[in-house]
């Protein structure tokens, strides 16, 4: 029972949150919002195919919204709201057709994602979106009946936005490459400069070399200091012997009767 109560509370919190968006229907899976089924099936299928191409070609979202005739002027706002809700900040386009409205179909589109593009790039891209919308509207009007206009407009809009999606990718790619070149250029530039860390390392290295040199030099000197050379003497040559006058050290070792005790007898 406690669990149910908690779920009810959560549901109560969730429902008002969605309630604020109650005018915006859920995003249609095929990109076509036609609650009254005004579109012919064949037209719908053709449009779905075109919308899919745009999505696969340039990751662009194209929506078609068919509203009843009483939608009036508020239909534009509703369309924009739906486009922003479904398309998010990515590139999207929306064809709005209000049944029996001579001004329909109308075209909307946006790209609001934050980018690191230059102002020029951003401006040009936004202009391209508007041109694509205008182009789709212009060409679609050449068709005879409303459903054909919608189908034509959807196809053209899909093609245009699909192409712009590719343009968007190209801009991203070029910018990324430019950043890479700039980074590598900066790295190369920094390498040619003498960095303080490098100087410190070089100084430490030189000091170590000097220390090792001095250490071994002193050690060698110490070793030489350890050497002792007896002075040369005029030999006391005797008994006509050329190299030695003999020695006077003689020791006789004797084993005693008590185990291995020894006695040494010195003889002179």
């Amino acid at each position: 029972m406690e669990v149910k109560r908690v779920l009810l509370i959560l549901l109560a919190l969730f429902v008002p949150a969605n309630g604020g968006q109650r005018d915006t229907p859920l995003r249609p899976a095929n990109g076509i919002y036609d609650p009254e089924g005004w579109l012919d099936e064949s037209v719908r299928l053709e449009m779905e195919s075109d919308i899919l191409v745009a999505r696969e070609k340039g990751d662009s979202a194209v929506f078609v919204v068919i509203l009843p005739g009483d939608a009036g002027v508020g239909g534009n706002e509703a369309a924009l709201e739906m486009g922003r809700s479904w398309g998010g900040e990515g590139l999207w386009g929306l064809l709005l057709h209000v049944i029996d409205d001579p001004e329909s179909p109308r075209y909307f589109g946006e790209f609001s994602r934050a980018t690191d593009w230059s102002e020029q790039q951003t401006g040009d891209f936004q202009a391209s979106i508007q041109r694509a919308l205008s182009e789709a509207a212009r060409k679609a009007r050449l068709s005879a009946d409303p459903q054909s206009q919608i189908a034509s407009g959807t196809r053209i809009l899909s093609e245009e936005l699909g192409y712009l999606g590719l343009v968007m990718e190209k801009i991203e790619h070029n910018n990324a490459q430019a950043r890479g070149d700039r980074d590598s250029g900066e790295t190369a530039g920094s390498g040619s400069q003498v960095r303080p860390e490098s100087i410190i390392l070089v100084v430490i290295g030189v000091l170590i070399v000097i220390f090792v040199f001095v250490f071994f030099r002193l050690k060698n000197e110490e070793k030489r200091e350890m050497e002792y050379y007896f002075p040369a003497t005029l030999p006391r040559k005797r008994f006509l012997a050329p190299w030695s006058g003999g020695g006077n050290v003689l020791i006789q070792f004797n084993v005693t009767n008590q185990g291995d005790r020894r006695e040494s007898e010195r003889r002179f």
């Binding site: 003497t233 005029l234 030999p235 005797r238 006509l240 190299w243 006058g245 003999g246 070792f253 010195r266």
Partner: protein
């Protein structure tokens, strides 16, 4: 400890008697002689006498003169190592260890005297080394040991210290464990040579002070 005297003082030579503290004796009759003589005043002994006494070719003076193989490879390795260490301190000195079986009547001191003088000197290296040679002669047949030194090193050695050093290893000599006995001898020789070096330095300092820069007294 000291400068390289042979390089810094060129051919300057001192009287050996100025440094020597061990007596000179006749190899034949052991009589003490006061001054170097060609023949012993008491027995008439000379180098000719010893050559007649040992009328055969003397062996070449080498580090090990060991016809009966008393020094094994391990012994030699340890002794060589000790000698290398000693040479870093006293580079002039050369040691030779001889193990022979002598007749009871043969005095090892005289035999050593004969060896150092009768052994051939065929090259300049040996000519330079021979006066700085210290020969340890071990008579394995009679458990006797003697030390004989060349003219150059002789003045700086105190023979009493050799005696003490050898007595220390008496048990090893008796067991004919000559490897360890000689190793002890080499290690103790550093002390004997060091004492000689210090005594020499004292004498040299005293000589310079007395002469006040004049001609070296010992020359």
């Amino acid at each position: 400890m000291s400068k390289r005297r042979d390089e810094s003082e060129g051919s300057k030579k001192y009287r050996a008697g100025s440094f020597a503290i061990s007596a000179m004796t006749c190899p034949g009759c052991r009589a003490i002689i006061e001054e170097p003589v060609e023949n012993c005043s008491r027995c008439g002994y000379s180098g000719h006498s010893v050559v007649k006494k040992f009328p055969f070719a003397a062996p070449k003076i080498e580090r090990y003169i060991d016809p009966n193989g008393h020094f094994g490879p391990a012994d030699r390795e340890l002794i060589d190592e000790a000698l290398s260490e000693l040479a870093t301190r006293f580079p002039q000195v050369r040691f030779s260890f001889c193990v022979v079986d002598l007749e009871q009547e043969t005095d090892p001191r005289e035999f050593g005297f004969w060896m150092l003088n009768a052994s051939p000197v065929n090259d300049p290296v040996e000519e330079k080394l021979r006066p700085w040679t210290i020969l340890l002669l071990i008579d394995s047949a009679n458990d006797r040991v003697s030390v004989t030194s060349g003219y150059a090193i002789e003045p700086f050695l105190n023979e009493e210290q050799w005696v003490v050093l050898l007595q220390f290893s008496g048990r090893l000599f008796l067991r004919q464990d000559y490897g360890v006995a000689v190793l002890n001898f080499v290690e103790g020789a550093v002390g004997v040579l060091s004492e000689g070096a210090e005594r020499t330095e004292r004498r040299l300092s005293l000589g310079k002070a007395e002469n006040l820069g004049g001609e070296v007294r010992w020359k």
